[in-house]
Subunit: 160 residues, 2 copies
C-alpha cells in the first residue's frame, strides 16, 4: 500500500501497512509464547480483520475468506474468531455483532471502544482508571466482577 492510500484513523493519517505487519508479528509472538498454533486459516482471518480498522461481521469475513477458500463455512470463521479472541488478538464489539483487530495485543490493557456509526472505524482507548472505578463500585455492591464491556458510539473526527 502506498502513502496516498493511507487511511485516516485514530484521527491520524497513518501507514496502515504498518498496522498489519505489527498485528501479524504480535500474533506470531503471542501464539508462540502461549504454545498455541496460528494456523493458515487463523492467520488469514486475522489479516482480513486487520486489513482495515472497520468493525467487520462474521459473515462479511466469510464472504472475503471464501474468495480464497470456497469450501469455508460459517463455523470456519467462528472457530477462528474464538481462537483469535481467546488470544486477545481480536475483540468483539457486542453492540454491533462485529469484530476488530487489537492494536495492542501484547500489552495488558483495559479499553473503551469508540465506534463511528458513520464509517464503522473502531478503535480502543485505554481507560484503566475507569475500569478501576467500575470494579470498585461493583464490589461495594458485593459483586464479583469478571468481564467489563465498554462501547461508545458516535462520530469520529472525519465523519462529524
Amino acid at each position: 500500500m502506498n502513502k496516498t492510500a493511507d487511511e485516516k484513523v485514530l484521527q491520524q493519517p497513518h501507514n496502515h501497512q504498518h498496522c498489519m505487519t505489527q498485528a501479524l508479528q504480535s500474533a506470531e509472538k503471542i501464539c508462540t509464547d502461549k504454545g498455541v498454533r496460528l494456523t493458515a486459516i487463523r492467520k488469514r482471518i486475522l489479516e482480513l480483520i486487520c486489513s482495515s480498522h472497520k468493525a467487520i461481521g462474521a459473515y462479511e469475513l466469510l464472504d472475503l475468506f471464501r474468495k480464497e477458500d470456497m469450501k469455508a463455512k460459517p463455523v470456519t470463521i467462528y472457530r477462528a474468531l474464538d481462537f483469535l479472541m481467546e488470544a486477545g488478538l481480536v475483540h468483539k464489539i457486542e453492540s454491533l455483532n462485529a469484530f476488530i483487530g487489537c492494536l495492542q495485543a501484547e500489552t495488558q490493557h483495559q479499553s473503551v471502544i469508540l465506534i463511528c456509526d458513520n464509517c464503522k472505524n473502531a478503535f480502543e482507548l485505554d481507560a484503566s482508571s475507569v475500569y478501576k472505578t467500575i470494579f470498585a463500585m461493583s464490589k461495594e455492591k458485593q459483586f464479583t466482577p469478571t468481564t467489563l464491556t465498554i462501547e461508545l458510539h458516535g462520530l469520529c473526527d472525519s465523519c462529524s
Copy 2:
C-alpha cells in the same frame, strides 16, 4: 406475591411486587407525558420483563406471551421492545441479547449494568462520573459521542 416469595436482588431482599407496581406506574406516567400509547400488548410485555430482575431474551418473552396470545409472532415482541426501549422503560443488554426492565425510568440516569452470569439477575448502578470521564476522553480524540454501553459481568453476592 407474599413475603416468603420475595427475591433477593440488589443484594437486598425486597418485595418484588413493589418493583412491578412501580414500573407499571412509571410506564403509564412516562407514556402519558410523551403522548404515546401504552397498549395492552406493550404493557403486558413490560409486565413479563419486570416479573423478575433476570435478563430475558426476546424469544423467551415470546414463549411467555404466547401462553396468552397464541397468534403472537417474533415481530410482536420486537415491536413492543422497540417501543419500551425508546420510552426508556426497558434496556437491552448487548452482551446477552437480552432485556431488563428499568427501575428508574422516570429519572435521568447513566448506568453500568451489573450482570450475574450465574443467576442472570441484572441491575443498574448509577455511574454518571464514569460517563463524564469517558465522554471527555473521547472528545480529546475529536470523537463526538452519542451512546455509551457499559456492561459488567460477574457474580452477584448470592452466587459468589
